[in-house]
Amino acid sequence: MNEMELLRELAQQTPLPAPAELDAARARLVAAIATDPATYAAAVAQVTTDQPYPATGEPAGPLRPPAPAPVLTAARFMHAGAVGTAAYLIVALPFIGDIQGKMLGYPLTATPLIITLVILVGVAVIALWLWMAHAISQGKNWARILSTVLFGLATLQLLGNHGFVQVFFAALTWLTGLPAVWLLWRPASSAFFKSAKAARSLPPSQISGP
């Protein structure tokens, strides 16, 4: 055994990485590719080839890199949150008077106004879940920040709940939001939001012809 073989033996202590270990690095490359002027040129060429009407020479819309797996999973969690909220609304509607009474500390009749308000708030929360899921899939960084703030508020709300049904659904919502927010701040997600922002801010003048 000579020194070269000894060195090779030493090298064998470092195995090849698992594919997931390269996700962040790949996301950075994909981000760089997405903001490369040649990508725009290729997209323009594609648009001009596909369009049945005379092309303007500009892309149809801002290009962005494909959302990485953590962002897509976070969006799925948000869709699940919307479904959970809808389920809560359906289950809770017959008990609105009871729930309101417990919250306020005295018996309350579920008037049509209160029922309407509860439904409107429920629908608004469902819409918020779906809106956030859509916005983060589009690479909107403000949606990531807003989602995190809303999760913080949900944490506060979790602490102020009473009654089994309320606590159960609040905990369910919180447990849906937790992995979503965690995934949104993974390195691959951060690279995606950064590149999506860069792609939106790139002026059309940087687009060169093929």
Partner: protein, 200 residues
């Protein structure tokens, strides 16, 4: 004039050429070579630094892809060259890593069966010596030695990777091997090395 090698190797140049017009094609090169480049960087600079350096390597390669010589079908030497240059910016980290490896290897083995302890001590002694030898090499000599010993690059490929003549590769390798041999043989633990080399 493009030189056609094996199918996979020929693909590298074709992929880079197509990435000039369709940049997303460059991701193919990442999928093909990133695991090996990562391992090389992890061996030299540690896993934590390798995470960042492998991304940097491919970002630099992507930015310079229009200057790639399509006459070279296999892109590995080019990528290893970029990776080696990036390691160069972490020379201090690399030297510290070898010293840490030396210190770790110098710790006594956990008590156990006599044979296993003896084997552990021998392996640790060899690792200590190798780490010491690597830490003592000049940067240029170490680059050549490790690209050949660890990454199995040929002289010509190392010459391409480091942009130095083949003759320089050979002389650096010769010098590096001599220094490593000297360290391995010149200490108490070198007796083990002598035994190993005489049993070849």
């Amino acid at each position: 004039m493009r030189r056609r090698g094996g199918p996979a190797a020929a693909d590298d140049a074709a992929v880079i050429e197509s990435s000039w017009r369709e940049p997303e094609r460059f991701a193919v090169l990442f999928d093909r070579h990133a695991p090996h480049i990562y391992r090389y960087l992890a061996r030299r600079a540690g896993r934590q630094v390798a995470d960042d350096l492998v991304a940097e390597t491919f970002l630099v390669a992507f930015a310079k892809r229009d200057r790639y010589d399509l006459g070279h079908a296999d892109a590995r030497p080019w990528l290893y060259g970029i990776a080696t240059n990036l390691v160069g910016q972490h020379r201090r980290d690399e030297a510290r890593r070898y010293r840490i490896r030396q210190a770790a290897a110098a710790e006594p083995a956990v008590p156990g069966h006599a044979e296993r302890v003896a084997a552990d001590v021998t392996a640790q002694a060899m690792r200590t010596l190798l780490a010491e030898a690597l830490a003592g090499l000049s940067a240029g000599d170490r680059d050549v030695l490790l690209l050949i010993a660890w990454e199995q690059l040929t002289y010509r490929e190392v010459s391409r990777a480091l942009a130095i003549p083949v003759g320089t590769v050979q002389s650096r390798l010769h010098r590096a091997r001599a220094k490593v041999r000297q360290v391995l043989a010149g200490t108490d633990a070198g007796a083990t090395y002598k035994e190993l080399t005489t049993n070849e």
